[in-house]
Subunit: 229 residues, 4 copies
Amino acid sequence: MLDTLKERVCRANLELLSLGLVTLTWGNASGIDRQRGLVAIKPSGVRYDELSAEQMMVVDLDGRIVEGNKRPSSDMPTHLCLYRHFSAIGGVVHTHSRRATMFAQARREIPCLGTTHADHFRGPVPITRSLSEEEVDEDYEGHTGGVIVERFADLDPATMPAVLVPGHAPFAWGRDVSEAVQNAAALEAVAEMALGTRLIDAQAAELEPYLLEKHFLRKHGPAAYYGQG
Amino acid sequence: MLDTLKERVCRANLELLSLGLVTLTWGNASGIDRQRGLVAIKPSGVRYDELSAEQMMVVDLDGRIVEGNKRPSSDMPTHLCLYRHFSAIGGVVHTHSRRATMFAQARREIPCLGTTHADHFRGPVPITRSLSEEEVDEDYEGHTGGVIVERFADLDPATMPAVLVPGHAPFAWGRDVSEAVQNAAALEAVAEMALGTRLIDAQAAELEPYLLEKHFLRKHGPAAYYGQG
Amino acid sequence: MLDTLKERVCRANLELLSLGLVTLTWGNASGIDRQRGLVAIKPSGVRYDELSAEQMMVVDLDGRIVEGNKRPSSDMPTHLCLYRHFSAIGGVVHTHSRRATMFAQARREIPCLGTTHADHFRGPVPITRSLSEEEVDEDYEGHTGGVIVERFADLDPATMPAVLVPGHAPFAWGRDVSEAVQNAAALEAVAEMALGTRLIDAQAAELEPYLLEKHFLRKHGPAAYYGQG
Amino acid sequence: MLDTLKERVCRANLELLSLGLVTLTWGNASGIDRQRGLVAIKPSGVRYDELSAEQMMVVDLDGRIVEGNKRPSSDMPTHLCLYRHFSAIGGVVHTHSRRATMFAQARREIPCLGTTHADHFRGPVPITRSLSEEEVDEDYEGHTGGVIVERFADLDPATMPAVLVPGHAPFAWGRDVSEAVQNAAALEAVAEMALGTRLIDAQAAELEPYLLEKHFLRKHGPAAYYGQG
């Protein structure tokens, strides 16, 4: 069942490792089959060198296990919340990639300082509000999704495919799980470069809005001319 | 004798290398067989590319060689001191991993700035007091273990599986040698992220205590729900 | 057609990856056959693990496709502008390599702080002026080449084989595409070392002019004595 | 002739690459046969992936080529100067390894902030004076050796096996070329950790002299007890 999706989700999880975005078992990727309303997601805490497509868990949008004999990723409720509210996304990735996590820990958005950023994110990468003690105590992972959705009240997940959760780490997404991985990799790169840029000049200015728009739109949307179309 | 343990300890030493935690020969891992009271430990100063399970030294808790024809790691007395005083641990790892060592050299504990930290360490990673000239002159490695034990008078090694020795480097441990390696890798990652976080914001706040507890307890203890149980 | 050049350009693109200068698909290399006035360049947005010599696009100096069935790199107009104005260059490389890009984002030239820099670049690596909104709106990539040429009014591309575009990233070149790759790698290294040097001492002085000249000229020009001649 | 030495010197040069100490062709290692007064050294500017033992150049202590048909490393006069004045050394390594070079460019010695440093270097790693314009103009590489020797007037090359040349990069040495490589790797590690330590605390104190001595002497000299003796 969902063999192709499980294969893609497994490969995406392994790509997180080869791209240097995960340490030990700290990361998970999922993909959704919108027609059936089913999500394939990495099992919790499994070593990457033992991961196979058959191990991917299949769950419905309420988190009921449909296929698989392991425990799904403990971050599953966050993934499901994003799928329920962001109808255009097909894949979600969560990592503790080091530089993006530094910004999450510093509780700062990632400013848009260059075109690499603008190629992927249409503006500063936002950060959610902190969770209250009550939210952490009951349904922590669900509420993590909730504050992301809350933060996106006036943002478009299609043009801003990542977010930071303060004191925690980033989540990224895309039209499919492969694009979600690429956005997670882009996020890590722009976080590293934003940190370094501000070490060179603490006052380094944000990118001109017209240059930001130019770069985002040459890669995304109807007038895009980057890539093979 | 102790073939399985020696095999595991050898593999753990090699994992330190593949995880990027050691340079040249600067690191050592050991594991204990509590029933027999015997410890398998890496020989001193041997190149990682020549390491094999047969070379692991077996010693008793007083440091007497029981098996093997090499000199055991010069840090052996520190390992043994930890095994004697922390009865629940089964493996010890010592590295000079770069970011954790930076904090040891700066003589600062590693503050808990995020959930990656809280997933592994229930609070700031502590630092011991400095050794006196007398302690260094007689039984240096034994006293290194002693100041760690002293620092843990009011800490639980089961929930704080690492420590920094000032001007020196970290030690980490776990229920077995494989968990000790994972804790050493987690320590390096959280040290790197703490350093970067404070470069972004020198005043970055420590994690909310309720979030720290939540993350530690979702991975550890009776109510844990991370991993495959 | 141009099989050897396409082979070299393909290999150069792959070298960018193995040298750690590109993430995902963010980079492109091209080479020119001056006799025929034809340029071989990477297709746009193609994954490096799927790249082959046959895929290289061949275009003339006005950007007309002469061979190949893909879209050429979106940065092609910048490459072509450089080939038209810098008659001695045979290869061009564009990357978003992280440390060079940090300087571009901080909108600072890279000061010459050591002999590694002087071995490759005869003075600080310059930065162009910013593009105006009009320049970005019409023929963005062409104008990017234009501001580079403008910046080199009193610089020699043969002795200064790289430039930073503010808010964007570096371009590098060389007598052939292989030398362009080496200059891109040198640029990244000197950017990293300049950043680190100024972290150690924010006032670190630039290299003595006589040492700069000595190092540049022992590797370049008629009296060079580095390498196999 | 000198086949074993050439083999060792070749392997040492390749180890510089695998240890991450060189970029492109920026590094060279040599070894001496003291009985014959002959030195095997890397040829100048040759790619590491084309290096073989047969290519190693053999020269006498005055730089006359005894065997080989390439140009020896342009830094050869510095190597030879060190061999002539430091009679106990058997190998020399020159790299532009990034963190050690940052200190050379900042024109600062590397302070001894921890036991990793003390395990290899008995005190701060010194920096030479700058070369004058005259010294650079005539016999630059020979004078580079000269200022190193001058700096070591009151230092022992056996206990301080590395030095920084301001605005340039480090040199390291050892009893043989393999130990020289290890010292170059240790130097890079302690430079990285010194930089990071001072980022955490700009006032971080140097290691207690008694701890420095303890660590140096447990690895070196008659009472050493690290390694297999």
